[in-house]
Subunit: 530 residues, 2 copies
Amino acid sequence: MALKWISVLLLIQFSCYFSSGSCGKVLVWPMEYSHWINMKTILDKLASRGHEVTVLASSASILVDSSKSPAIKFEVYPASLTKNDFQNVFAKLIASWIHNNPKYAFWEYFSQLQEILWKYGNCIKKFCEDLVLNKRLMTKLQESKFDVILADAAGPCGELLAELLKVPLVYSFRFSPGYTVEKRSGRLLVPSSYVPISMSEFGDQMTFVERVKNMIYVLYFDFWFQIFDLKNWDQFYSDVLGRPTTLFETMGKAEMWLFRTYWDFEFPRPTLPNVDFVGGLHCKPAKPLPKEMEDFVQSSGENGIVVFSLGSMVSNITEERANVIASALAQIPQKVLWRFAGKKPNTLGSNTRLYKWLPQNDLLGHPKTKAFITHGGTNGIYEAIYHGIPMVGIPLFADQPDNIANMKAKGAAVGVDFNTMSSTDLLNALKTVINDPFYKQNTMKLSRIHHDQPMKPLDRAVFWIEFVMRHKGAKHLRVAAHNLTWFQYHSLDVIGFLLTCVAIVIFIITKCCLFCFQKFVKTGKKEKKN
Amino acid sequence: MALKWISVLLLIQFSCYFSSGSCGKVLVWPMEYSHWINMKTILDKLASRGHEVTVLASSASILVDSSKSPAIKFEVYPASLTKNDFQNVFAKLIASWIHNNPKYAFWEYFSQLQEILWKYGNCIKKFCEDLVLNKRLMTKLQESKFDVILADAAGPCGELLAELLKVPLVYSFRFSPGYTVEKRSGRLLVPSSYVPISMSEFGDQMTFVERVKNMIYVLYFDFWFQIFDLKNWDQFYSDVLGRPTTLFETMGKAEMWLFRTYWDFEFPRPTLPNVDFVGGLHCKPAKPLPKEMEDFVQSSGENGIVVFSLGSMVSNITEERANVIASALAQIPQKVLWRFAGKKPNTLGSNTRLYKWLPQNDLLGHPKTKAFITHGGTNGIYEAIYHGIPMVGIPLFADQPDNIANMKAKGAAVGVDFNTMSSTDLLNALKTVINDPFYKQNTMKLSRIHHDQPMKPLDRAVFWIEFVMRHKGAKHLRVAAHNLTWFQYHSLDVIGFLLTCVAIVIFIITKCCLFCFQKFVKTGKKEKKN
């Protein structure tokens, strides 16, 4: 009996298809930096369950490389950019993004953001061309007969590959500005009255003025802002597929959308059956720290430690900002571990140590950790939620201001502005999240929500990818909205028809009344004459 | 090692709260017949996990009684109706419902339906009054300190109890006509362009005419049809709670909505984080049949058997209809097991046996079963889906026409009209679902979808009820729409404000232009004069 149960458990743990007993072939279109870190967790799990995982990596790939992933196959294709070019594009984008703080030049910020996204999109388009126009490689991929494509929707191409290879598609996705992709391709509904639009930095308890602004954002993102240079992409997709199509239409064919958040992080909003929220799937219990680090952490005594990182994309900041930060950190009783690759700041206190890299998850899971100073990347915030550590947010770019706004609204973080904060601002923020139990309590509440789900996010992500492999899609989860034109979708034809009917009825009734009235008046006059 | 795993499994199987190790107290507001059959599955599971389950049963209860449920406590309160009165109300409602076929008198059908629902609602209101005005019982319930109320939303009162006892509420729900309750209380979004409104009998691939009709249904249900006599209910709730409130507002406070369908049964549509679709939670593998029945089934040989039931509410039909049916059944090579309590029809064939009760699930799970003739109740359809048995639908009332329409659209059933069908109609329908592999294939597809979910429906239902107990609610899953007034929810204040702004801007620009024009014309005229 006992052996039977163990074998059932082993079967659940290690087999992939259950029913047929066979494993599948997964093709992956990944994005860089934190996107890759997150997706790799899924791929490792898929590989550990016996699936054959092949990642498409360009010769210019930054983090997406084979060296660190022995269980995953990498198909490296020659790209028309070098790794250096690609890194420079990112560096410039981030610098310009950080510099343009939305609070000071609202519209300028968004027009700059569009430029940033287009530049980034053009890089991705080059990679996509390098891939799909590489006949030898495409023939090889065709012959490999993959069962599913897992693609990061933040950079198009996965959906084009899915069409070319006739393989069902699953997306991993964080968000798009204004939820444009979610709405236009995924057919998600985002009512502006209670769902704060992405990039708005609002909570879900909006004042009237915030709801007005939220509606303006919606109108702006729907009718003005284009996250991709759509004309170019649409033309490219139409050329490659040999039929008129659009980027959004092709993206709309995805079988499942795995969003990298959950309701511990986001505000609840309408969703769809082919959407699952798998935020924090990369989180795991802390491992022991290296000896030197553990000794430093233990030396903090009762006061504990503060962990500080600005993420995988920002390794350096100006000397002036570094000194402002270091001076604040020097004034707290906690020991501080700071991930920082720049010149050692003059104001650095004896309680602060600089590291080129930090075992962030292991530190956040350490019982001595009191607070996390973070740029507000989704992965880092999820590690803090997982371990219940309150945050000081210094958002820099992309979804980070929104993420920190969410954590502030949920009472798990205090935010400071990177460009304008003084040492006192950072010091006060730190003191608040460490000493006011409100923040610890709220973060623990989010942590409890995160840990108390019907199924772990990683297991759900793997389940749906395997489901799509088993059933060659998930059409039963797909709303019929995908088959409608935009005017049918918004019922404009039906409303037009009904209004026309009403107008005709009113017209006929009016005519009849007029006719009767004239008849009556004439008869009356005649009678009077007679 | 083996023992450790067994103990983990036992812990998962039998403990309720995991973290704290303690069990909870569940108060239940049930509805009758198939609603009770479904809910009892959840209650038995909760009881088997160690929770104390108390069901509120009136002295007029029909199926909701203590005799069959030793693990569940019943709190029986004296009602102002007798069991006979209550049964008569149901009998009359069903008779009038079956008689008024929507295909022949569309608007008459809906006005009659409203009357039926109001009559039924008035019974429920009487029970609700009997309960909440029973001071002794209410004090007892107050003192019992329940952790959660599980209520069937088809009959109000559970939400009033939840308010009075200050206990979080979880709903079990099938649907409301026009999705009124789901929209107004649950805040679910139901776009008419691709979601067939309940009671419309449309699939999700609607023609233009169907979309027009669907929109008319939406308008009708939103502005004309009232499923409850709201004035009465609102007044009653306001009186009892001692503050002005409404039925729908009170219902809107539910923490979780457990819908008794899934995407094997329904067409995919927008949903919300505090909604889970747990359709078919009562389904289970077939048990062996009684000896006599098994012998009869085996005597069918290669041809197999057909199972026929019109559900738990209809025990009798007219002699004429019974003869039409029996004559059709007599002409098929299969053996037939028919649940029928009326007079033996003259045309009954030797292949057909009548039974007062059938072990329906065990028969549908029998390898000899070829088809299921059903009235289209949700429970029965789910048993057919679970075991992959194609259906002939003879819908009678309530959601049954809609359910059969769904199964027809999914290619798992053929429908016939109870009032007008001839023997040949039924015979042809039976031959089609038995001999055309299309129906078996589609039903097996639905069955595969049903069995291939991340977690079993019953486990999910229990998880969410326990979650609400553990966390005293599930506020993180609740959209902020609940805090808005109807005009805020539809952004009417924001749209009004923005249009006013636009109007003011246009007005000012026009005034300026007019002013400049007049100035210019006057100057021109003066110059001309000079």
